[in-house]
């Protein structure tokens, strides 16, 4: 492990611990502003969406709305499964299957065309 990676892990460990322990240990002595508390609950869905959307709409770095964007198609199917089942493992499994299925479909379509 090179020094830069060690520093990175140390920094990540420090900020993560700082989010977990101090509040747990000290919160009886301080009150967080209610506005901050309201904002905090939006962070998980906002961060998740901000990670998901570019991964689906721009998997190669530029935005791609076409049917050949297999990540986008599989992502739509995955979202539907997540909504219907609320089952994480099943969502993951069907999502991967959707990606491979769509790729297979695209491959056979281009084979027929050629």
């Amino acid at each position: 492990m090179i020094l830069s990676e060690m520093l990175l892990v140390a920094g990540m460990a420090l900020v993560t611990f700082a989010m977990r322990y101090p509040v747990l240990a000290l919160v009886s002595k301080l009150t967080l502003p209610p506005t901050l508390m309201k904002a905090l609950k939006f962070i998980p869905p906002a961060v998740l969406t901000a990670i998901i959307v570019p991964a689906l709409f721009a998997p190669t770095g530029s935005v791609d709305f076409s049917l050949t964007n297999d990540y986008l198609i599989a992502g739509i199917i995955t979202a539907f499964v997540a909504w219907r089942t609320k089952n994480l493992l099943l969502t993951l499994a069907i999502g991967m299957a959707a990606l491979w299925g769509w790729r297979l479909l695209l491959a056979s379509a281009s084979f027929i065309q050629s």
Partner: protein
């Protein structure tokens, strides 16, 4: 559900049983994390150290993606902080229940605080029975979770070396797929949906910003819009949505 017999051992085991499904759900994430670290050219020691010392699934995933993309350390650390901000919410919620405990308890309970442990532990604390050992339940949710995460990381590090080029198989799609599985159940009211939409649209607009700063900008836009939406909705709706406050759902390990 019958209350567990109030003994430290029974509480610990009850905590373990309660968190077990969430541990199983986190297994693919641990393995995928290890495999993606190998694929991204991150040293196995660094990946293992992250799981051992940072122990925060979503932050670890984001970090691996950013390291692979050549992003600077300080941006990764800042992103880690933002991704992990939600722990303040968990800690604030749990704090009144654990304030009688000594530092010997609070240090490990704090370090091991994850989405999964929080979700099941707060349900235990909210049950009315007067067991004096509920912190043993909390502990019972954390230790198996932690051990499993280390184990899965090693399995993933091994699998990443055995399976050549997992990206060609589209295995990196497991990222957004799993995150979708976590996100969708959290969209329980209009202000959260508005927040997510805003984050998604800004993520597209800003995705070309360097160092994945687009992620931070988009997340902040999402939070801002969510708060505005909540502010604008009538007080009755606000009250109702408060009741349905997002249970931070099983994030696999990704959520720690």
């Amino acid at each position: 559900m019958t209350a567990p017999t109030p003994s430290p051992r029974a509480e610990f085991l009850a905590g373990f049983r309660a968190v077990l499904p969430l541990i199983i759900g986190s297994i693919p994430f641990g393995i995928i994390f290890g495999a993606l670290a190998v694929t991204g050219g991150i040293s196995p020691a660094t990946a293992a150290a992250m799981s051992a010392f940072v122990y925060a699934g979503s932050a670890q995933f984001v970090a691996v993606g950013m390291i692979t993309a050549g992003v600077g350390n300080w941006v990764i650390i800042l992103t880690t902080l933002i991704v992990n901000l939600r722990h303040i919410l968990y800690a604030t919620t749990l704090a009144p229940h654990v304030k009688h405990l000594s530092q010997r308890w609070l240090l490990p309970l704090g370090f091991w605080l994850t989405d999964e442990s929080f979700i099941v532990t707060i349900q235990r604390y909210n049950r009315a029975d007067a067991s004096p050992f509920k912190h043993w339940f909390y502990l019972g949710t954390t230790i198996p979770m932690y051990i499993n995460w280390q184990f899965c990381t090693y399995v993933g590090l091994w699998a990443g070396q055995v399976i050549p080029n997992p990206a060609a198989w589209g295995l990196d799609f497991a990222f957004p797929a799993a995150f979708l599985g976590m996100l969708i159940p959290q969209l329980v009211n209009r202000s959260i949906v508005a927040s997510a939409l805003a984050a998604g649209i800004s993520a597209i607009i800003f995705h070309r910003l360097p160092h994945q700063l687009g992620l931070i900008v988009a997340a902040l836009c999402g939070v801002l819009v969510g708060m505005l939406a909540e502010h604008w909705s009538s007080s009755a709706i606000t009250a109702a949505s408060e009741d349905a406050a997002p249970t931070p759902t099983a994030q696999g390990q990704v959520k720690k």
